[in-house]
Symmetry: C2
Subunit: 220 residues, 2 copies
């Protein structure tokens, strides 16, 4: 039979997986709305964000209740603490999808100044990172989590590439500046989504082995 | 005599106040480096970030140790959980100061295309928000924390104004596009620093009265 704590943890797992699904869907839909210049879809993403906001508060409260009443130790404590932080990252990811949707509304149905290749690629990598981060939590697979962390470099490189390319479009004609700024905003949002996905993988490593690997890739 | 838990909490308080001071200094120095086009100072901000990164991990570990060994309840539990989240916000604020420093390096000593008024104003408000957020924690003053939350609107308004103004400079001459993008990046970083400062005030309210006020200002 499961203990109260085990039941609570299963419950939290279900909710955080649901939260991850909703955040991924928000990012994916935001990029579809951009590619198709679909204002209706962009508006829907903005509206749906309140569902994710409510779920974030719900998950936080569940975690706090477990800490207060079940006094989890070792792996269970690390799991709850990791979920508390992952939850914030997922909510921020959904917020960034909303930022992208706002850029789409700003573009306001105008034809795109260039075909989008790198931006959709950035979103694909970011979504893959979130998914694999969660697989690494389920499988307690540190190698998989560490692999996710390295994937962020690819997104950062694409962001620089997108910025450089859009800059040339903007210099070429002042008519491209307005949309160029929107697309730079989209790429920036995806770069930040990649950062949050990386955070999730870092929390996964902490949960699995109790090792805090944040900032270790930085100099020094 | 103080209990072990009380001693631990005082210790954490000292560290998180130190973390706040360092983050504020990073933001303040970043704006000085921009105004003075001071590349040396910008580089120093980037270098110093590793100190803040280490302190973040230290504070997180202290919080986790308290949760694992002292099993705090009620206000103390809320305090530790609030600090865990505030700690992340402060580290992100320092990271955003680093982003600003990178924009300064990108500008690379070129004279500024316009006198800076709104950008320094944004940074002043953001710093005031962080300071007041911490005062509200010390004084357990909910009204002060709620006041901080409303200050974020002013930063958002200034960000829109800065963007609009820089857009006109960029359209006016393609020579302004490169630096215009840097200054838009600075304003965006300050807007996000304001968001994190707002988060800190929201955590303060949660700590003081156990009420989660996140997302309440949003529609619905």
């Amino acid at each position: 039979m499961l203990t109260h704590l085990e039941i609570d943890i299963e419950n939290i797992k279900m909710k955080i997986f649901n939260m991850a699904d909703l955040s991924i869907e928000a990012v994916s839909s935001a990029i579809i709305s951009l590619k198709k210049v679909d204002l209706k879809l962009a508006k829907k993403i903005i509206q749906n964000d309140s569902i994710i906001d409510k779920l974030e508060i719900d998950i936080d409260n569940e975690c706090i209740k477990i800490l207060a009443t079940r006094q989890p130790a070792a792996t269970d404590l690390r799991f709850i603490l990791a979920i508390l932080k992952v939850n914030t990252d997922l909510e921020r990811i959904a917020d960034l999808a909303v930022n992208i949707a706002h850029e789409v509304l700003q573009i306001n149905g105008q034809p795109l100044i260039k075909p989008l290749v790198d931006i959709p690629r950035m979103s694909e990598i970011a979504i893959e990172m979130i998914k694999e981060g969660f697989v690494s939590i389920t499988e307690k697979n540190v190698e998989k989590a560490k692999n996710v962390i390295t994937m962020d470099d690819e997104i950062d490189k694409l962001n620089i590439q997108v910025n450089r390319e859009l800059f040339t479009y903007m210099v070429e004609s002042f008519k491209n500046i307005s949309q160029g700024l929107c697309l730079i905003g989209v790429a920036k949002a995806l770069e930040r989504i990649g950062d949050h996905a990386k955070n999730i993988a870092e929390r996964a490593v902490y949960y699995i082995q109790g090792d805090d690997i944040r900032h270790k890739s930085k100099k020094g």
